[in-house]
């Protein structure tokens, strides 16, 4: 029984709002270095799971283990600094800040100076600020945003806003990146660009990714492992081919998708 410790593990995770179970006894694992997908119809509980993982919601039952240690019900900022960051379904950038400032702000954990040092402008402050600035610049260059860095975030076109959100999430040096419908509102070209970007990000930053998506091409194209939800419950779990051929999934979800495409 030499099982590799999964990076993230959900164990019988349940979240109830009043009488309604938005997430019902869901268990799955995300292996290190993988790109996993979380799919299901609208309202299946996917974003709720992200909110549970990132500490926005309290867990009603069950556990969330990150690198073997429980992180459920912790403070969101602690979870984020512990290595789990995310993007949002409806983009939540710091809209009035420039592209650069969005990332620069998020780099804050890479510096280690206190209030005293900032107010008195001690040498330590200047040193570490330079480190932060360099880090922000290099991130923006890697993600192809450096020639847009002075624009206010809400003046960016939609696709670049999504890319900026991902960049910001990467600024915390996460081990696990949660992407909530990153391809929402994108045309096929943009979706393909995004797919490539996610693959490159995984390689370049050595991270694992968990994606919520509706775009089946994206999911099938890049995910090593897929977990299907329906009405808060697990419907299927496995590799892309296994899930695509699972009759339950085809009936509940993929079948409808195919009809749409015809």
């Amino acid at each position: 029984m030499n099982e590799i410790l999964p990076l993230l593990e959900l164990k019988e995770l349940t979240k109830r709002f009043g009488g309604l179970a938005a997430v019902n006894n869901v268990s799955f694992k995300v292996q290190e270095g993988s790109i996993s997908g979380l799919i299901g119809p609208n309202g299946a509980g996917k974003t709720t799971i992200f909110n549970l993982i990132t500490g926005v919601y309290r867990v009603t039952d069950g556990q969330i283990l990150f690198q073997g240690k429980p992180i459920h019900n912790q403070e969101p900022f602690k979870i984020a600094s512990g290595g789990v960051t995310r993007t949002f379904q409806n983009i939540r950038l710091f809209k009035n800040l420039s592209v650069f400032d969005n990332v620069y702000t998020a780099c804050h954990l890479s510096a280690n100076y206190g209030l005293f040092a900032s107010v008195l402008r001690l040498p330590r402050f200047r040193r570490e600020e330079t480190i932060l600035r360099d880090k922000a610049r290099s991130l923006l260059t890697i993600m192809g945003l450096e020639d847009r860095q002075d624009i206010a975030a809400n003046n960016l076109p939609y696709g670049l806003q999504r890319r900026l959100e991902i960049t910001r999430a990467l600024a915390l040096d996460p081990k696990l990146l949660l992407l909530d419908e990153p391809a929402a509102g994108m045309n096929p070209d943009e979706t393909e660009q995004l797919m490539r970007l996610i693959g490159e990000v995984r390689k370049m930053f050595s991270i694992s990714v968990l994606v919520i998506e509706h775009h089946m091409d994206l999911i099938m194209g890049i995910c090593d492992h897929i977990h299907v939800l329906n009405f808060g419950c697990t419907l299927a779990d496995g590799s892309a081919e296994e899930v695509a051929n699972d009759p339950k999934v085809v009936e509940a979800y993929l079948g409808a998708e195919e009809e749409k495409q015809c």
Binding site: T47, N51, T54, F88, D180
Partner: protein, 297 residues
């Protein structure tokens, strides 16, 4: 025992006024998820509308009430349309709403000071209906001011009508639905703009009635708007967004204040209101009757 009952009566009187203010405020809060910090100024305007309707226009007392309530309802709706709606449309952050409310409140309060003047006005008793004039009623050792009875009755009627309206009529149910989930109600065909206007109008109307009653019991002056703090505390005490909670919180707050005034000292009455507030926020921020809500991503 007699003093206890006397304090109870006093408390119920001021509690009725608090209730009218707090329910109006909570009603708007339940729909908009936003505290209308200009509420106090609307209450103050109600007192002035009532006063001038009675003295300058010379209308009978009940008509003065009606004019005051309609006036404040109109002011509240205008405030909403001109100041809050543009912010809502732009999905401005919560902070902008508070700042705007503060600005509106400063504008209204100081307009009154600059035009009418800061000296307090008293409702002339000759113009009040005859059953309100005269000595307090005596009931055993209890002295019940006639105005206090009127306050209690008027408040009870208004709040009773409001509860019936909300529970039984179609519009009332529309308000409930929108309070629960604005987007979903909109999908069901309820026009959110209409509900918002309706709710501000009702809240404003209640504020107007509260203002007139307060002005009758005490005096009419521009700094009245600071009474709004009490209505906020009452609403938080009972549970922000819950109408029965606002009612309960108001009565309890008023009773506690009155007992503190009566048995301890009047000086510490306002301090106790603050203590109640802080205690609630520490122990149970959702209030006595509130429900816990979680943020959504």
């Amino acid at each position: 025992m007699d003093q206890f009952l006397q304090q109870l009566v006093n408390g119920l009187s001021i509690g009725s006024i608090y209730a009218l203010m707090a329910v109006g405020y909570s009603l708007v809060y339940s729909i908009m998820n936003f505290s209308n910090f200009a509420h106090g100024s609307v209450i103050m305007l109600g007192a002035y509308f009532g006063f001038y309707a009675l003295t300058a226009l010379g209308v009978p007392f009940s008509v003065a009430f009606f004019i005051a309530a309609c006036g404040t309802a109109a002011v509240a709706v205008i405030l909403e349309r001109l100041a809050y709606k543009p912010l809502r449309d732009r999905r401005a952050p919560f902070l902008y709403f508070i700042i705007t409310a503060m600005g509106a409140s400063i504008f209204i309060d100081n307009s009154v000071i600059a035009t009418i003047g800061p000296t307090p006005k008293t409702f002339p008793s000759e113009l009040l209906p005859s059953f309100l004039q005269g000595m307090p009623l005596e009931w055993g050792a209890l002295n019940v001011g006639r105005i206090d009875i009127a306050i209690f009755v008027v408040a009870a009627i208004c709040l009773g009508l409001l509860m019936l309206f909300i529970d039984l009529t179609k519009l009332g149910k529309a308000i409930q639905a929108t309070a629960y989930n604005m987007k979903a109600s909109a999908l069901m065909g309820i026009n959110p703009n209409f509900v918002i206007i309706l709710v501000f109008a009702i809240g404003g109307g209640l504020a107007g009635v509260a203002g007139v009653l307060y002005g009758m019991k005490y005096q009419v002056f521009p700094q009245m708007s600071s009474i709004t703090l009490k209505s906020f505390i009452a609403a938080v005490f009972g549970g922000l967004g819950s109408l029965p909670g606002a009612l309960l919180g108001s009565v309890l707050l008023a009773l506690i204040e009155t007992f503190v005034s009566g048995y301890l000292s009047t000086q510490y009455r306002d301090l106790f209101a603050f203590i109640i507030l802080i205690t609630m926020l520490v122990v149970r921020p959702s209030g006595i009757m509130g429900r816990d809500a979680e943020d959504k991503a």
